[in-house]
Amino acid sequence: MIQDEEVEVLINDLFELYGYDFTGYSKASIKRRINRLFILDSFPSFAEFRYRLKFDSTYLKRFVEEITVNVTEMFRDPLFYKTLREEVIPTIGTKPFIRIWHAGCSSGEEVFSMAVLLHEANLLHKSLIYATDINPNVLEKARKGIFPLSQMKQYSENYILSGGKQDFSSYYTANYDRVKFDESFASRMIFSTHNLVCDNSFNEFDLILCRNVLIYFDVPLQNRVFELFDASLSNLSYLALGSKETMKFSGMSNHYRQLGKEKIWRKN
C-alpha cells in the first residue's frame, strides 16, 4: 500500500519532470487511484513504481490515463438533459452563433448527446462545440464518434427520459459490436487537449459543461477552475456541473443564479 508521503513524492516527480500538476487533486481519490495502479501493474515496491514513472515516459502516459477517471455515458442524468433541452438551449438558440465548451469530456458521450439536442432544436448548423480533456487517449476515441453497441439500449432509454422523441438509432449506423454516429455531428465539434489546472481560457462561451471533473479536485483548485470558467463565460451564459457538484463553496456563487434544483448556473 502506497503511503501519503509516497503519494506526495510521486506528485512532485510528475510536476518536476513532466509538468503535470496533480497537487490540487483530491487526496482521498488520487491515493486510491495510485494504489489501484500500483496493484494492477504488480510493482514489487514503491521504489520500483517511482523509478518506472521517472524514467519511462511511455509509462507516464499510462499513469495519466489510469489515474484519471473516464467513466461517462450518453444522456447521463436524463433530467439534467431535459432542462438543457427545454430551458437552456432555447435561450442560447436566439444568438446568431452558439459556442459550447465541454471541459473534461472524456470519450465524448456527453458531447454527442449535446449535438443530438442541438440538432433536434435545429441549431446544430450554427453551433460549435469545443470538447477538451487532459487525457489524449479518450479524446482520440471521442473524435471517432464510435461507441459500443452494447450501451445503446441504456443510452436510448436515457435519451427518451431526457424528452427525446426520435428513434435514437436513426442517429448512428451499427457495425458489428459498435456504432458510429452521423458525421454531421462530429463536423460541429473541435477536440483538443486542455488541462484545467494550468491552461488558460481560449474563447467565450454561451454554455460550459464541466461534469464530474471537479469532484476529483480539492476546493482551492475548484475555485481556480471556477475563475477560469468565469473568464470564459459572457454575461447571461450558463455553467453546468455534475449532479453532486456545487458552486456553493466558491466565492463566485453570488454572481450566478442557479436554475431551480438543477446543477446549472446562469451568470448575472
Binding site: S243, K244, F249
Partner: protein, 192 residues
C-alpha cells in the same frame, strides 16, 4: 473489548447495507436522538436512479438533519449523511467528503468497502463501522481496514438480517468486535 465500548473517542459512525438493510436503516434513523455527538454516514446499495427520494424518505423519519452528500461537504457531528447513488463516497483527512465515480467495486457504486477504507484512513481509531444485511461480500475488506487502524467493527447479527450473507462473510473473514441486533445498534449510536 470494554475499553473499546467506551465510545467517547468516536467521531463518526459509518453504516453500510445492501439487500434487506433499508428496513434496519429506517428503524435506526427514526430512533436516533437529535444531537448525536457523532456524524452518522450511511452507504446503501441501491438502484442507479438519481432519485433523492431515499434521502427524503429518511429525512421525514428522523429528528436529526438528514442530507444526501454533495461533493466537498464538511462532515459534521449531529448530522446523518446518505451516500448519493452512483458515486463512491470518500473522506478527506480534513474531514470533508469527496465523491468519485470510478469503476464499481463488488459490483457496487457506492461500495461499502471504499467508504469504510477511506473512513479508516481519515479517522483512524475514531471510526465505528456497522455492516448490515446483504447478499454481497461488500464491506468485509473495509472492516479489516477499520480494525487495522484501531476502529470499532460491528455487524448486524446474521440471525436478525433479512440477507445474512454479508454480515456472515464479515464474521468469517474480518475481526468483528460486536454482533448487534437493531435495538443494540440504536443504543450504541445514541450513547456516543
Amino acid at each position: 473489548m470494554e475499553e473499546k465500548l467506551d465510545m467517547s473517542s468516536t467521531e463518526i459512525i459509518v453504516i453500510g447495507g445492501s439487500s434487506g438493510s433499508l428496513d434496519v436503516v429506517l428503524k435506526i434513523i427514526s430512533s436516533v436522538k437529535k444531537d448525536i455527538a457523532v456524524a452518522l454516514v450511511i452507504v446503501l446499495h441501491r438502484k442507479t436512479t438519481t432519485d433523492s427520494a431515499l434521502s427524503e424518505l429518511l429525512a421525514i423519519r428522523s429528528v436529526a438533519p438528514v442530507k444526501e452528500v454533495e461533493d466537498k461537504d464538511p462532515v459534521l457531528a449531529g448530522n446523518i449523511y446518505l451516500a448519493p447513488s452512483d458515486y463512491h463516497l470518500l473522506f478527506e483527512k480534513k474531514h470533508i467528503f469527496s465523491l468519485d465515480d470510478s469503476e464499481k467495486i463488488n459490483y457496487s457504486r457506492p461500495s461499502i468497502d471504499v467508504t469504510f477504507e477511506s473512513a479508516a484512513e481519515a479517522y483512524g481509531a475514531t471510526v465505528s463501522a456497522i455492516l448490515l444485511s446483504g447478499s454481497n461480500a461488500d464491506g468485509t475488506e473495509g472492516l479489516l481496514a477499520i480494525h487495522a487502524q484501531g476502529g470499532v467493527t460491528i455487524v448486524q447479527d446474521p440471525e436478525t438480517a433479512g440477507f445474512p450473507y454479508m454480515p456472515q462473510q464479515a464474521i468469517l473473514n474480518a475481526p468483528v468486535d460486536y454482533q448487534m441486533n437493531v435495538s443494540e445498534m440504536i443504543e450504541y449510536i445514541n450513547n456516543k
